[in-house]
Symmetry: C2
Subunit: 197 residues, 2 copies
């Protein structure tokens, strides 16, 4: 219906998560009508990021250098490693201001049905680092989903085999959470893990 | 927090309509993790579209040629011109399959508060075409908003001055619309414009 270049742009915009045909159309017209400079800037940023950004050699987060800022920071404690599913999780931890160790990013979780095994998540790299004996505690911060739990369980086994302390994030009532809106599973966890005060 | 190239990409993604900081972060990670080819394709499509697409010399819709497919189509009736606010409105008309005339795209509506006057909407171009005497009917299909109505009113005046038939899309109950969910304004319109059957 539209001219070829516009059709191509709408198709290309659909690689963005959550963008269907209608949103892609709206985005394309918005860029052409009001944000031509911004669109060119976006094109340049995309090319630079895809070209320059790869995994940190330490923790596998995204970075354009060999090691990311956290891995290079000598003030951080490399003996504790927090295993997360995505770089966005690192941001959440850093914003909480309560963690000063290193991270290890899986970029996903174990999912045999999609053919995602330990090597795809860099777990072999983590294993070799565990074998070197520098790591003393592994904090498993994968998601509280079936796949996240399975991944945590798999890595916990590795940790135990290498005689490393393995911990998992506590589950329970979130701060400010109202009990009546809490799901049964979380409430059961909170009750089972209750603490004497 | 993230490395400079990623921060820059997140910032650049925010030119897209409806994309805030969280969506931009999700999009950036999604592209870097799973859609590197798609992201490069998007960058190329953006550059090509921004470089190649401009306004049709006939109807002001987006096209990379001098005249768009509709203006070039000799089977279409150039004596009837439907005035719309955006190229997306053309798509809606074409999909309805009930119109075979030409269009004229305003790319917005009159909005003195934002400094958008008749020249910004190409109404001067429309006026000179009206003066040439080829157009016999103007169908005003601007939005049913205050600004859309004001724009329609302004163009209707021009049409009358040039002795052209001016019509406005009918307002009333949409197909399949349930009366109990219809707003009062629309219902009042539908009642006032009732037809004897």
């Amino acid at each position: 219906m539209f001219s070829p270049l516009i059709d191509e742009l709408m198709q290309a915009l659909r690689v963005l998560p959550g963008v269907g045909p209608k949103s892609a159309q709206r985005m394309a017209f918005h860029l052409l009508e009001q944000e031509r400079q911004g669109a060119l800037q976006l094109a340049r940023s995309l090319e630079k990021a895809i070209d320059g950004v790869s995994y940190c050699n330490g923790c596998r987060t995204f970075t354009e250098e060999s090691f990311c800022g956290i891995c290079r920071n000598v003030k951080r404690d490399g003996r504790t490693v927090c295993v997360v599913e995505s770089p966005a999780d690192i941001l959440a931890f850093e914003q909480s201001g309560s963690y000063s160790g290193h991270y290890f990013v899986l970029h996903g979780h174990l999912s045999p049905i999609d053919g995602i095994g330990p090597e795809d998540l860099g777990i072999d790299i983590l294993e070799s680092r565990l074998a070197q004996g520098e790591i003393q505690e592994l904090i498993l911060a994968t998601g509280s989903t079936v796949e996240g739990e399975a991944t945590a369980h798999y890595i916990a086994e590795l940790g135990r085999r290498n005689e490393v302390t393995v911990s998992r994030l506590a589950q329970g009532v979130p701060l400010g959470g109202e009990l009546e809106y809490l799901d049964g599973g979380t409430l059961a966890h909170a009750l089972n893990s209750r603490r004497v005060i």
